[in-house]
């Protein structure tokens, strides 16, 4: 590939692209221009039209109006295959690999090399290896079904597929949201390398600091329209957020909580390694660590979803395996918000009110246990108003019709409906936009303090977003390789210290004096 490509034409140009679904305009006359040798940020709140725009680019969504050009040649894709044929590769958030095929097969899928009538396995592996090497990903094994690779490795395979097909325009749809810090770092460097290779990169992300770091220009979408465009050095976090939200957002500033004496959770390793973790009523405790450090496993073991002989639990809300089944836990127990909203957290096709009240449907019954739909609606409405869930005009509508942030609020509301006193939050703001993020922080802080009129609750948060943990938590412990370090007051910590500890070979087990 040539190093510098001198061309008067932009790599990608969109003019006046519109898409309507019924009366609502998902996109309303959006313009976008991306040059070769540029990383172009595309940001906006959930529902601003980013996903639709990416669908249009990839050929999965047909626009009602507008025109597109790739490298100066008109581009009107009839389907996703057209994009790839024209050198446009999209790396999706929900990866689009065939999980049962291996990396080599996935990279060549759609144009598998043949020798006569048979598959040319050697050529396939050569192609895949070459592409992966260029990405500095020599550690991705070729013969293993990609379903068994890590999220970061799968993403590399997907990028390799784009490279191998000779793509010159790469579109990344929130590529770092499912990655740990080092993998995300590697991906950002990779985008910069693609840029210096002369490729055009579109980077869609909620992580504004990443956008600020790698992007040459940023296009901001709001309500399906162009809200602003910034040149590098012309913008900062605040300006981006203002353009995205169309208003000033109050920064989240938490007054630290007061932990009461009552211990709601006490977890220690059965082999005695590392430190024990306690969560008291009224406090928010965070667990930091790399992806795969065993943080999620700790939450799930405590909640009884998985058996884990490594952990011993005590405390008021202590549970045994399967204790989450109603009748064992009941009121006063723990409640878990899953990190995987789509596959575990919510029943996406079921109505909003049912998702919210599912743990305690028995409360909406009358007489001989008949469900009273009116009661169900009333109970749900109460929480929806209290938590400021937006878009829930029809509580019988499937919950997938809500935006990610509002879905997450319903997932939290469900714990409250079940009277959970210990909230276990696993990546509570993954895939949630800036505005909704601040609202969720505020909500969690209020619940911990008991400002909603109920007794203060205990909260345990697992998050890969260190800024989130620092802003939200009273104390933070770092987990490394399944072993917990000491929980220290958040005021004494910063991102650097947490990162250092998370990437250390061993957790620090001593509380500094």
């Amino acid at each position: 590939m040539t190093n510098q490509r001198v061309t008067p034409e932009p790599a990608l140009r969109l003019v006046g692209v519109s898409k309507h679904y019924g009366p609502t305009a998902a996109l309303d006359g959006v313009d976008l221009e991306v040059r070769f040798g540029e990383v172009h940020g595309l940001v906006g709140e959930n529902g601003a039209g980013k996903s639709t725009l990416l669908g249009v680019l990839a050929g999965a969504v047909r626009p009602d109006a507008g025109a597109m050009w790739i490298d100066g040649v008109a581009y009107a894709p009839a389907g996703p295959a057209d994009g790839l044929a024209r050198g446009l590769a999209t790396v999706y958030q929900e990866l689009s690999l065939a999980p049962h095929l291996d990396a080599a097969e996935n990279v060549s899928l759609g144009r598998l090399p043949r020798r006569g009538p048979l598959l040319d396995r050697a050529a396939m592996e050569r192609t895949a290896r070459a592409a992966l090497d260029r990405l500095g990903a020599a550690d991705v094994p070729l013969g293993v079904p990609v379903g068994r690779l890590s999220a970061a490795q799968r993403q590399l395979v997907e990028i390799a597929r784009g490279l191998a097909s000779g793509a010159r325009v790469f579109v990344f749809d929130e590529p770092t949201s499912s990655l740990g810090r080092p993998e995300a770092e590697r991906l950002l460097v990779l985008m910069e390398e693609l840029r210096s290779d002369g490729a055009a990169v579109v980077f869609v992300s909620h992580a504004l600091e990443e956008v600020e770091r790698v992007c040459d220009r940023v296009t901001v979408l709001r309500d399906g329209c162009n809200a602003a465009r910034f040149e590098r050095g012309d913008f900062d976090d605040e300006e981006l957020v203002r353009a995205m939200a169309g208003r000033e957002l109050a920064a989240f500033e938490r007054t630290r909580g007061t932990a009461l004496a009552e211990v709601l959770l006490h977890a220690r390793r059965s082999d005695g390694r590392g430190q024990a973790l306690t969560v008291r009523r009224g406090e928010i405790v965070g667990v930091a660590g790399l992806v795969g450090a065993g943080r999620t496993e700790l939450l799930r073991a405590y909640f009884g979803l998985e058996r884990d002989p490594n952990w011993v639990f005590e405390g008021r809300a202590a549970s045994t395996p399967r204790a989450h089944w109603r009748g064992h836990a009941g009121s006063g127990g723990a409640g878990l918000v899953s990190e995987d909203r789509a596959h575990e957290g919510l029943a996406l096709e079921r109505p909003i009110d049912e998702n919210l009240c599912l743990p305690r449907l028995d409360r909406a019954t009358r007489g001989f246990g008949w469900l009273a739909p009116g009661d169900l609606r009333r109970r749900a409405t109460r929480w929806i108003d209290a938590l400021g869930v937006r878009g829930a005009h029809d509580l019988r509508a499937p919950i997938r019709t809500l935006s990610g942030g509002n879905q997450q609020k319903v997932a939290v509301a469900r714990l409250l409906e079940a009277d959970s006193e210990l909230l276990l939050l696993d990546e509570p703001t993954r895939g949630v936009d800036v505005g909704a993020k601040a609202e969720i922080y505020r909500l969690v802080a209020e619940l911990a303090a008991g400002r909603d009129g109920a007794a203060p609750r205990g909260v345990l948060v697992v998050s890969s977003d260190l800024g989130e943990l620092l802003a939200l938590c009273d104390r933070i412990a770092v987990m490394v390789g399944g072993v917990l370090g000491a929980a220290r007051p958040a005021d004494e910590l910063d991102e650097h210290a947490l990162l250092l500890e998370a990437t250390a070979a061993r957790p620090r087990t001593r509380t500094p004096a």
Binding site: Y21, G22, T24, A26, L305, H324, W325, R326, G327, A329, L336, S338, H343, E344, G345, L346, A347, L348, E349, R350, E354, N355, L358, P359, L361, D362, A364, T365, G369, W370, L371, D394, R396, A397, R414, A418
Partner: protein, 364 residues
């Protein structure tokens, strides 16, 4: 908007039924529209409709039952054997229903991860067959029951949890239950003396204008509709079908829910077996072949999703009626059997395609 789409979902199948009925009414006139024929059609719907009410629960919970036909055949054999042994019609009927409930409990256990129950039942069955001629039926039965109880109690602790897909389990049951139906009657149909059960499925014996079997269908459907739509259990079934992991997170006892759904759902097939016995008047191991597909078709035409989380009893009932009306109407018009089969097949695919188009419009 959303009101319109939910109304469409509820009324769509009903509208299709009216359309099909109207079409045949025009084509064949009073021969088709007579009250006698309406009663006959309801009667013809009773067996498949009753089983389909149960299947709606199973499909709404994200499962499938391919063994309905075999369960019905087995049920008719049990009813006939009990009548032959001198039991009264009520006892015999209860035996037929119990057969379905037991089959469902075993299948539900396997689907819920207690595969050991399946193995234990098989072991007990083999033991009974082996010992029957040696130590006598009573002693062999006792030995089998001891093995069964011990196995179910101990198996849960010892055996690993293996969750089997309902497709596989009921595909196995489809063959095994048919074999069992033949085995318990030594490969012969059983013709017990007339018991009065036959009156359930005879147009000549009406209660308030309709045969008893139709009333049973309506009662089962009414109860099913209330349980599915108006009880916490029903909503939990739908939640399990939509996303079992979410249900688990919310404290729904998913395995227990599944066992109840299959026991109750296939219990409905047991009731259908009693009606089928009443219809054919004998225990026939080769009866009800292919009913599983008619049952699934009724549920799907009624608007349920095969991926779970959706389903309505009213829709299912209408779906079953549509198929009966087509079958009956084709006969009245004088169309051959093969035409009717093609039309039925086309209706199944068209009904689901229409539903998808509607869903596609509703989803941005």
């Amino acid at each position: 908007m959303s009101l319109g789409s939910s109304a469409w979902r509820a009324l769509g199948p009903l509208f299709a039924l009216a359309l099909v009925w109207g079409l045949f009414a025009v084509l064949s006139g009073s021969d088709f529209t007579s009250w006698d024929n309406q009663r006959l059609m309801l009667l013809q719907t009773a067996v498949v409709g009753t089983a389909a009410v149960g299947a709606t629960f199973i499909i709404a919970a994200g499962g499938i039952d391919l063994s309905v036909g075999s369960t019905i055949a087995l049920g008719t054999m049990v009813v006939a054997l009990l009548l032959d042994a001198g039991a009264g019609p009520v006892m015999a009927a209860l035996g037929g229903v119990a057969t379905g409930v037991c089959v469902g409990a075993v299948i539900g256990s396997a689907v819920a991860g207690r595969s050991d129950v399946l193995a234990t039942v098989a072991l007990a069955g083999v033991l009974f067959a082996a010992l029957r001629s040696g130590i006598g039926v009573g002693a062999a039965l006792g030995a089998a029951v001891v093995v069964l109880v011990a196995g179910v109690l101990v198996g849960g602790r010892l055996a690993p949890r293996v969750v089997l897909s309902p497709f596989i389990v009921t595909l196995g049951a489809w063959g095994a239950l048919r074999g069992l139906a033949k085995g318990i009657g030594d490969n012969q149909p059983i013709y017990p003396p007339s018991s009065g059960l036959e009156a359930l499925m005879s147009s000549a014996n009406s209660v308030l204008g309709l045969p008893g079997g139709v009333w049973i269908l309506l009662a089962v459907a009414g109860l099913g509709a209330v349980v599915l739509a108006r009880t916490p259990f029903g909503r939990e079934v739908l939640a399990v079908g939509s996303n079992a992991r979410t249900a688990r997170l919310c404290g729904v006892h998913v395995p227990r829910t599944l066992v109840l759904v299959y026991a109750g759902g296939i219990g409905c097939a047991g009731i259908a077996a009693v009606l089928q016995y009443a219809f054919v008047g004998m225990g026939d191991p080769t009866t009800a072949v292919g009913y599983e597909l008619a049952v699934i078709a009724a549920v799907v035409i009624g608007g349920a999703s095969l991926s779970g989380g959706e389903g309505s009893i009213r829709g299912t009932l209408v779906g079953a009626l549509i198929m009966t009306v087509v079958a009956n109407g084709c006969v009245k018009v004088g169309l051959s059997n093969w035409v009717q089969e093609i039309v039925t097949g086309a209706i199944i695919v068209a009904a689901v395609a229409l539903d998808r188009v509607r869903a596609g419009r509703a989803t941005p």
